[in-house]
Amino acid sequence: MPMEPRHYSQEEIDELIACPKAVSDPPRKEMKQDRGHFRNDMRLKSTDEKFEFRAFMRRSEDFPENFSIGLAFLPKDGTGELILLRCNGPHGDFNDAFDPANPHFDFHVHRASAAMMEEGLRAEKSATVNRDFASYEEALQYFVRSANITDATAYFGNIGQGRLLLVEEEPNP
């Protein structure tokens, strides 16, 4: 019989984002050029090996400030992947309420929301402006921390170096 859409609680979503993960299928050393953008991909497993994920990194060739770094959960029950997190550059006036009077033009993060899913909307439709990164490189660091990728330094050499500190150490003003 047809598969019902899977329901997730917000607690479950938050746990999927935050659970410790390790790289199971590594990214390329360099991003690959592909029809107008650069891309890289990798597979992840939770360190308890219960869950599988994929991460994607995309960056526009024409507008390098347009990028997206995302985390998708790959459930094993055939219900289809769920985009949990996307860290985006300022690619346009983002608007989560279809309200043109309330635009954003900034770095922002889409995060899956159980409430959105219950309304039949895209899980990651809700998004917030983010001040913790201001470049692709910083967004990658932010992503690695948010997704709790424990062995990222083995694949992204300079991650964790440089000026960007942990969120707890440098909270938003």
Binding site: M3, R35, H37, S68, H91, P103
Partner: protein, 254 residues
């Protein structure tokens, strides 16, 4: 009126322009993707004396598509090309665009946004989405082509034991046919257990399996187990559509 003033007027003021590069404006219009991001539309000012604007995406549509879907097969590429051709949208190294006269920017932008939406919808061709249609397609075929055999969905051959449910019970001979759609290994195991229980209880029936993908959709051990429990198997829905009606007819006259 300049072309941009005319465009703003046609949008009833609900549009703005941001210079992203010299000669390249981003159109900030109330056109959104399902995830809340704005559709990326740019206006490249006329070059080389053509007098035409280029309404394009600077590669953003395909980039967005690859978040969840890749054009990595000939078939996917063919569908993509067809969407572009039917909408008269050009592609240049992943960048989609149309050329438009200055006074035609408004319809060109709406037309372009519509094409971007169609390309973006290709994400619904994802394997798991197509797979989820298997049971619906099976049900549709049974209803349309096998109605004469009185198909009953969700049959319970053992009263009060709904754990042994049959997808469809049909009358096509001396014994009822219990038909199961099998999409994956989980379903294969469930069907195997049910058929073995029916056999253990001595129920007169024939077990008919319609697989989504017998070769690679279930594990080798599950293939062995379900083959042992089944009386007839169709390795794919296409095979069932081709040969199922003849099988039912043979059963009827047996």
């Amino acid at each position: 009126m300049t072309p941009l003033e005319l465009l703003k007027d046609r949008f009833n003021g609900h549009v703005a322009f941001r210079e992203r590069r010299p000669g390249v404006l981003q159109v900030v219009a109330p056109l959104f993707h399902e995830d809340g991001d704005m559709v990326d539309i740019f206006l490249d000012e006329p070059r080389n004396g053509s007098g035409k604007f280029r309404v394009g995406d600077h590669g953003m549509t395909l980039m967005r598509l690859t978040y969840a879907f890749d054009l990595d097969t000939e078939n996917k590429q063919r569908i993509f090309n067809r969407i572009l051709a039917e909408n008269r949208v050009q592609e240049e190294n992943g960048r989609l665009y149309v050329e438009a006269d200055p006074e035609r920017l408004y319809p060109a932008i709406l037309h372009f946004a519509q094409t971007v939406a169609k390309v973006s919808s290709m994400q619904f061709f994802k394997r798991e989405v197509i797979q989820s249609l298997f049971y619906e397609q099976l049900a549709e075929f049974i209803e349309e082509r096998l109605g004469q055999y009185n198909p009953r969905a969700h049959a319970l051959p053992i009263p009060d034991h709904d754990e042994y449910e049959v997808d469809y019970e049909l009358d096509a001979g001396p014994r009822p046919l219990y038909l199961f759609g099998v999409k994956d290994s989980d379903k294969a195991r469930l069907v195997t257990i049910s058929c073995l229980e029916f056999q253990r209880r001595g129920l007169p029936f024939k077990g008919v399996m319609v697989h989504q993908d017998f070769e690679s959709g279930i594990t080798r051990k599950d293939r062995v187990r379900i083959t042992s429990a089944a009386d007839k198997q169709f390795p794919s829905l296409d095979d069932f559509k081709d040969n199922g009606p003849r099988f039912f007819e043979r059963e009827r006259v047996a």
